[in-house]
């Protein structure tokens, strides 16, 4: 380590660059917060600038207690937040619950059609919901899944990525454990529950973090599959409000307060579980 001056100047510049970048990333959030602290009329009269106003309390209270939502004929905020939470939890838990056993099956068993099953699952990597949107909607409608939590989550649940991640994890479990289990006469199911799942705990948690964010942030599918306000999610509500604001209704303050409410839970998850988040992201590789 040398303490030469140019070295110190360089370190300083590196920190400066990172601080600037962090500030730039936070800029949209800052402006959203500022906008949420004004009254609707302030936007038209041009009062809203770069610093917060005095309507913070009022905006968030009326946003959360539903007064604003009622005036704009939107679903109540509480139920939208709850729907988002339910959707995110069902998608995250559902994906994990169906891909753990399937990954175990393709990794630990030798059976006819193993390759076929593997490829059927793999092919879903190539079918994002956006690509097959119209026929998927038709299937959901035929099965009577419109306006239900099943319709909201099932089409998003099958996931090759989760299966691949778990397969990768299982491949690192030493074969000696399997042999020992066999000698002890443990059934494959016993081995799965008592050895393989506990060994995969961290990866399950990491994947949960990623899937929760993925589920919470869904927009297009919920927009199509729910027509009843009682199934509306918070991200959908943000979209509706933004439409109203763009058309000249003075509701930017509510729009931004709702946007902040919509982004806080997943951002909180990332911040609180940074280590798991990074692990989940880098290991699932999407």
């Amino acid at each position: 380590m040398n303490g030469h001056k140019p070295h110190r100047v360089r370190t300083l510049l590196v920190h400066l660059g990172l601080i600037l970048a962090a500030a730039f990333m936070a800029m949209p959030l800052w402006f959203a917060f500022v906008a949420s602290t004004y009254q609707g009329g302030d936007f038209i009269s041009g009062h809203v600038g770069w610093l917060p106003g005095s309507n913070f309390w009022n905006t968030y209270v009326t946003t959360l207690n539903g007064t604003a939502a009622q005036a704009l004929a939107l679903p109540p905020m509480g139920s939208a937040l709850l729907n988002s939470l339910i959707m995110a939890m069902l998608i995250a838990c559902g994906k994990i619950l169906i891909s753990l056993p399937s990954a175990y099956a393709v990794t630990y068993f030798n059976f006819p059609f193993r390759s076929l099953c593997f490829w059927v699952i793999f092919i879903t990597l190539m079918l994002p919901v956006e690509v097959r949107i119209v026929p998927t909607f038709q299937v959901a409608a035929t099965l009577g899944l419109l306006n239900s939590y099943a319709g909201l989550t099932l089409p998003l649940i099958a996931s090759a990525t989760a299966t691949f991640l778990f397969r990768q994890t299982f491949l690192t479990v030493p074969d000696e454990l399997t042999e020992a289990a066999r000698i002890d006469g443990a059934s494959p199911l016993r081995f799965f529950i008592d050895v393989v799942i506990p060994l995969s705990r961290t990866n399950i948690a990491a994947l949960f973090v990623i899937l929760f964010i993925y589920g919470w942030n869904q927009y297009l599918w919920p927009l199509l599959v729910t027509t009843k306000a009682s199934y509306s999610t918070i991200v959908m509500t943000v979209g509706r409000l933004s439409e109203a604001s763009g058309e000249g209704d003075p509701v930017w303050n509510y729009t931004m307060a709702t946007a902040i409410l919509a982004l806080l839970p997943p951002v909180f998850v990332v911040v609180a579980m940074q280590r798991l988040f990074v692990r989940g992201l880098v290991e699932t590789e999407k």
């Binding site: 990172l18 193993r114 990597l125 066999r182 494959p188 942030n217 297009l220 931004m256 911040v271």
Partner: protein, 294 residues
């Protein structure tokens, strides 16, 4: 396809374990994909009374539709811009964060959170900043003499959706590049430093070449994101306009299928998208499998 050396010899159990995933995949993935392909071969007759087999007419119509070709071009320009911007910023920030040593964890937090913001929400945040009449950035631009109105100027509309789409991918790329940089043996860099190679030279001769596989993988991921996951950004900002200038392919599939009720055309567009994802997946799969070998 790799499996365990020690495996269980059963048939019923693994199939039962696979059943839930296979069921969901079959009902909500394979069946709709098959339907998309089938519907792409049919058209409504002139009176809209019944659907008739029309062969590849839907595809032919797309191929000669100037607005479709424009959408395709827009999507390419958009995706390449998103990839270029988010890869270069992601890499730059990773190099900077790698340079501060132990402090990198601290900065990491302030650079990765945008990953958690939904594309639709991100679109709303950006469209406010650039609102033609009340946006704070618009006002700033006016001071320096730029007249910003993405509702009229198509170039500005495209720039807006690129910006609104990038933050999430910058966070993503940053994490992968940082992980890549930190896995490069320090001895390699120290040896180069002893040879009096400056930091910039070290970056281009050692770090950047070693990051090539990561960059390539990220390029594909970013393209897939820009192609398919940016629906929310468009629907919160430009709605595909002005005119058709930001009407990217996923937005078009949705519009033709649900708003314009052109089921055949929308299905043909789905099949084209399917082919595009297949290409991306093929490229990515080759990368992933190669990595698994190690």
């Amino acid at each position: 396809m790799q499996a365990k050396r020690v495996t269980f010899q059963r048939t019923a159990l693994p199939l039962a374990l696979l059943a839930p995933q296979l069921a969901v995949t079959g009902i909500f993935f394979l069946w709709p994909a098959y339907q998309a392909m089938r519907q792409s071969l049919y058209q409504e007759d002139a009176f809209g009374l019944k659907v008739v087999f029309s062969g590849l007419t839907n595809f032919y119509d797309l191929a000669v539709d100037p607005t479709y070709l424009a959408s395709l071009l827009t999507t390419l320009v958009f995706s390449l811009s998103v990839a270029a911007v988010s890869l270069s910023f992601g890499l730059l920030l990773a190099v900077l964060a790698d340079g501060v040593g132990r402090g990198s964890k601290f900065y990491q937090l302030f650079l990765v959170w945008p990953y958690a913001v939904a594309p639709a929400v991100s679109g709303v945040l950006w469209v406010y900043m650039f609102d033609p009449s009340i946006g704070p950035i618009t006002k700033l631009l006016r001071v320096v003499g730029i007249d910003w109105n993405h509702q009229i100027h198509s170039g500005q509309a495209l720039a807006l959706i690129v910006m609104a789409s990038c933050a999430k991918q910058i966070a993503y790329n940053f994490l992968f590049f940082l992980a890549g940089l930190q896995s490069i043996p320090k001895s390699l860099l120290e040896a180069a430093a002893l040879d009096a190679a400056g930091p910039i030279r070290r970056f281009f001769t050692i770090q950047f070449p070693l990051l090539t596989p990561t960059s390539f993988f990220l390029l594909v991921v970013n393209m897939v994101y820009a192609f398919f996951e940016t629906f929310g950004v468009i629907d919160a900002t430009t709605y595909g306009g002005p005119g058709q200038s930001t009407n990217i392919l996923v937005y078009r599939v949705f519009n033709d299928g649900f708003k314009n009720q052109r089921i055949g055309a929308s299905a043909a567009e789905s099949v084209v998208l399917l082919a595009i994802v297949a290409v991306f997946t093929f490229i990515q799969f080759r990368y992933v499998e190669r990595k698994v070998e190690y």
